[in-house]
């Protein structure tokens, strides 16, 4: 059974339907990419998983447990953590405090210290900047802090929303390298990206979302070869 499973999810903003029967799965150890253009419903999908909004129809199960109507802080406690789109750091808190907030629902001090060490090894830059206010960092550094902050929860599944948005190509490569590294340490990742080339390259499997509906799915490399995907998202 899949670790995270969405079945026939409908979601609305007021009366506007954003998701039409979205179904997807993330298995243990996988990187799953969700690609699609602006407004396709990628972020909405993550919001329904996180519990920031609840689906009008369909079910979300995590590790066999129905989380369709679980509030966001409970979802985090169950082990799903998200680095939201646009980083959304606490700008007027220090980097260290941001990381501490990432571990908010944990009580095991020793474990938190271990996670902090791990994060600092993964991102030496974050360690250098830990006493600075998060709002004073560059975009790339902020993205690193956002991912670190999500990792501080010691997640059983990690969701990354547009981690490459607005970053210089060199930093994008670094970030994707680290996504691979996190995944090989055993954390399954649901990756939302507009940068389809990079996403399909790194993902084991991928889904293509178009106006709230999943139109294609399959192994990442396979989708990268598909004609429609190439035309619509890869610019080939």
């Amino acid at each position: 059974m899949a670790l995270l499973e969405l079945k026939g999810i409908d979601a609305f903003y007021a009366r506007i339907q954003a998701l039409h029967g979205v179904s997807l799965t993330v298995d243990r150890g996988e990187i799953v990419a969700l690609i699609g253009s602006n407004g396709a419903g990628k972020t909405t999908t993550l919001r329904t998983i996180s519990g920031l909004m609840h689906p009008a129809a369909g079910t979300i199960t995590f590790d066999g447990r129905d989380i369709s109507s679980t509030p966001p802080h409970r979802v985090v406690q169950l082990g799903i953590c998200q680095a939201p789109e646009g980083r959304r750091l606490f700008q007027r808190l220090t980097v260290q405090d941001n990381l501490e907030m990432g571990a908010y629902s944990r009580r095991d001090r020793g474990g938190i210290r271990d996670s902090l060490e791990k994060v600092f090894t993964l991102f030496p830059r974050v360690k250098e900047r830990r006493h600075q206010l998060a709002g004073t960092l560059s975009g790339g550094e902020q993205q690193m802090v956002a991912i670190s902050r999500a990792l501080m929860a010691n997640p059983r599944a990690l969701m990354l929303d547009e981690p490459s948005l607005g970053l210089a190509p060199l930093i994008v490569d670094t970030i994707f390298g680290i996504i691979n590294e996190i995944n090989s340490s055993g954390v399954p990742i649901l990756l939302v990206e507009q940068n389809a080339v990079k996403a399909l390259d790194v993902a084991h499997r991928a889904y293509v979302l178009e106006t709230g509906t999943i139109v294609q799915s399959g192994p990442g490399k396979e989708l990268a070869q598909s004609e429609e995907v190439q035309k619509a998202y890869l610019g080939i």
Binding site: F12, L52, P72, Q91, L93, M101, Y104
Partner: protein
């Protein structure tokens, strides 16, 4: 603040309600336009010679007032003693304003609501402790010396707790159901809660000025003709300690950091596992604990308390919060002290009938020329 879309249900009534909620993007755009407009005015880019002229005019008036005050200070028959005495009074009431302003600023910081009922919680605190004090038969001279502290400390602590619980209840019934409604709705229920509380306190103790026994040991120190009573020292020192404790709590403790995180980005905070409802309730609790303390101290310090005390006091304390930079805790403490000091000086050297008018003139000027307040936030918001 990202208004969470509520329309995840097909229930038509709810869907209709959801539609009334403004599009968060539109709110953000409007807020930004407003901020940019204000910044442009401040930078003197808009318009404008009229705005610039107005600023010089205001500056001129302020200078004239300061000169007049300087003259009154210098020409008093006992210039130094009277001046220092004024400072002592200013510190006393300033500390109380600071404590009340903290409650406004904390709540505004986290949910952008001006909690009009806050100052009535202060009065409520005064009423509760007064009732307990009366019930136990404490009067001036019944218990003398430091022994009275054995009674005052638990009474004050109990009052603070009750006020905290009251404020949590207010938040639960009057504000939380409107969390995602347009901003003006909770503002209206806040004004409503204020009237409800004042009405209850009117029924409780009537329209009269209730005498509050002067229980803090009397005793005073006279230096250079200036009298410092024990209660002056007590109110200032305790208020200072509470402000420091609060500041440490908010900057160092996990819950305090969660409050600041929630204030800065509510959705992101909940994505970190922070329980938003609990954090907001904790904020109301802490604000009201300070209010309960301030209400009791007000009674002990000024010796009387009336049911609608919160109305005027609340507006003054709110001005203090805005002056310091709304949402900023150190700012509220500083603003409270400044306003208390201003009030004392105006009372001492000009006509006290005009004091409140002048305080609201300050509010207007701050909003016009320095909307971020004295300690307003200046950190780049980069995305």
């Amino acid at each position: 603040m990202d208004g969470s879309p509520a329309g995840t249900t097909q229930d038509s009534a709810l869907a209709e309600k959801a539609e009334e909620v403004e599009d968060p993007a539109a709110i953000a755009a409007r807020d930004q336009a407003w901020t940019e407009g204000l910044m442009a005015v401040r930078a003197g880019m808009v318009g404008n010679r009229w705005v610039r002229l107005l600023r010089w005019l205001v500056l001129g008036v302020v200078i004239v007032v300061l000169l007049l005050m300087a003259r009154n200070i210098a020409t008093h028959s006992q210039p130094l003693a009277y001046f220092l005495q004024t400072i002592v009074y200013g510190l006393g009431s300033g500390s109380l304003y600071a404590l009340i302003a903290l409650g406004y600023t904390m709540v505004y910081g986290i949910i952008e609501l001006i909690n009009f009922a806050h100052a009535d919680v202060v009065t409520f605190g005064g009423f509760i402790s007064l009732s307990v004090v009366t019930a136990f038969g404490f009067k001036e001279g019944v218990v003398n010396g430091p022994l009275i502290l054995l009674a005052l400390v638990p009474i004050t602590a109990g009052t603070m707790l009750v006020c905290g619980l009251l404020n949590i209840t207010i938040e639960r019934v009057a504000y939380r159901p409107l969390r995602n409604a347009p901003r003006v709705s909770p503002l209206i229920t806040a004004a409503g809660m204020s009237f409800v509380l004042e009405g209850l306190m009117f029924l409780w103790k009537g329209p009269v000025n209730n005498h509050y026994p002067d229980l803090i040991p009397t005793g005073q120190l006279t230096l250079i003709g200036t009298t410092v009573r024990i209660k002056d020292a007590v109110v200032v020192v305790l208020a200072l300690l509470l402000v420091l404790a609060l500041d440490t709590f908010v900057t160092k403790s996990k819950l305090g950091k969660a409050m600041r995180a929630t204030a800065q980005d509510r959705d992101a905070a909940s994505l970190m596992g922070i329980d938003i409802n609990r954090t907001i309730a904790a904020t109301f609790f802490i604000g009201a604990v300070l209010a309960g303390f301030a209400g009791t101290m007000y009674g002990l310090y000024f010796g009387n308390i009336v049911f609608d005390l919160g109305f005027a006091t609340g507006l003054v304390a709110f001005t203090a919060a805005v002056l310091g930079g709304i949402g900023n805790i150190r700012g509220a403490a500083l603003g409270g002290l400044c306003i208390g000091m201003f009030e004392a000086f105006w009372n001492s050297y000009f006509v006290s009938a005009w004091t409140q008018v002048m305080i609201f003139v300050i509010l207007t000027l701050v909003l016009l020329f320095r909307p971020a307040g004295l300690l307003g936030m200046r950190v780049p918001d980069r995305t």
